[in-house]
Symmetry: C2
Subunit: 200 residues, 2 copies
DNA sequence: CGCCACGTGCATACCTGGTATACATACTGA
DNA sequence: TCAGTATGTATACCAGGTATGCACGTGGCG
């Protein structure tokens, strides 16, 4: 319910209209996940249906304003107050993929892991570059990029962990070439220097 | 598309029917995210519509079997081969919440962070307990629990990071009570001892 | 001037993920 | 015998997400 609650939180600050809500949401969260306008209108409709927001008429330019009702404001504050549980998170597609790959016939789990690690390390580079160029402008955006960096680093660690467990668990039953040489991505080690850079 | 592709991957191993697919999926991934049966049937319908699976008739007990078509098998292998990008991941509700909280009037971002950290550390304890009791049974399940542990640890680190940035960025403009005393959760420090325990 | 592209703003259709529920059958135990 | 439970299939409904259509205004350009 992150979009619904996010829009509700924005409306709790001040009344607004669809297009501007989208702009505000993207400005605060940094266009990391671009928000489709259509999503805003359907969400506003549902919020109005549930009595959390109400229409506040149009202004001179024809913008359809919505404002938070009392119940809506309470729910927005409640959303901030309630921590998100680990249980109500979406499924981790990568975890599922690896879990299925370790047993799937015709699929080399180690190759899947290596390919994924390359991809993740690559996006990690992009993220640090992004962080370097984009300055202090918007606090929320910086924090979100940091969140993705932390998650990507954890992902790399986990992939290493998976590889170690698989290698130890089934020490190459078919062929005996424990070091595939060429396409094996190098050990991370130089993944990021997050601790220092961020707080300067 | 994790469910769709996951079911396709299972069918690529061998033909099966709805209820058993759900059981297999949960067995491999560890019932971490319990999969609703209804989801399986709607997904099977869509896969059949798209020509990736085909009905293979019923057996003596009346089980409606599905089998992978050629195209479906190719797509399943393709799913394993293609790494998941950072871009096509679902929005991180927690990141959005924090990003909006830092500016929202009437919301103390630091309190939100502290509450969340308590929650995350708590679930981290649950996860390590889970890992300790559940033995080596299923490889995939162990890896998925590990993935959640790594993510939760990264989340705690990120929350600390957020707190530090907020404290340095806005050194208590309104009220001057930098230490709220009682309900402030203690520093983590004893979060987990993942490095050693996992590989024993 | 007329037209075209573009930004802004609203609305809808459609797909997937996710949950609940209905419904049927078979086994099991009080 | 009847209730409860496990197995199995199917459908309805909601929310998230994307694409698209439609309208309006403005500014450029032949």
């Amino acid at each position: 319910m992150s979009i619904r609650d996010g829009i509700l939180a924005l409306l709790q600050e001040r009344p607004s209209y669809g297009y501007r809500l989208r702009a505000e949401f993207e400005q605060r969260t940094g266009a990391t996940w671009p928000l489709n306008v259509g999503q805003v209108y359907t969400t506003l409709g549902r919020l109005e249906r549930d009595g959390l927001v109400e229409s506040a008429g149009e202004d001179a330019e024809g913008h359809v304003y919505y404002r938070c009702t009392e119940g809506g404001g309470a729910q927005a504050l409640d959303w901030f107050r309630t921590p998100v549980s680990r249980l109500d998170r979406p499924r981790d597609e990568l975890a599922i993929k690896i879990a299925l790959a370790v047993r799937a016939p015709g699929v080399e789990a180690l190759e899947v892991i290596q390919r994924q690690r390359s991809e993740t390390i690559s996006s990690l580079r992009d993220l640090t570059a992004l962080k370097r160029q984009g300055g202090e402008e918007e606090v929320g955006w910086t924090l979100i990029v940091d969140a993705m960096v932390f998650q990507a680093e954890a992902e790399v660690s986990w992939l290493d962990h998976c590889e170690a467990r698989i290698r130890s668990g089934l020490p190459d039953p078919g062929s005996n070439e424990p070091d595939r040489g060429g396409d094996v991505s190098p050990r991370p080690a130089a993944v990021a220097e997050r601790g220092g850079k961020t707080d300067e």
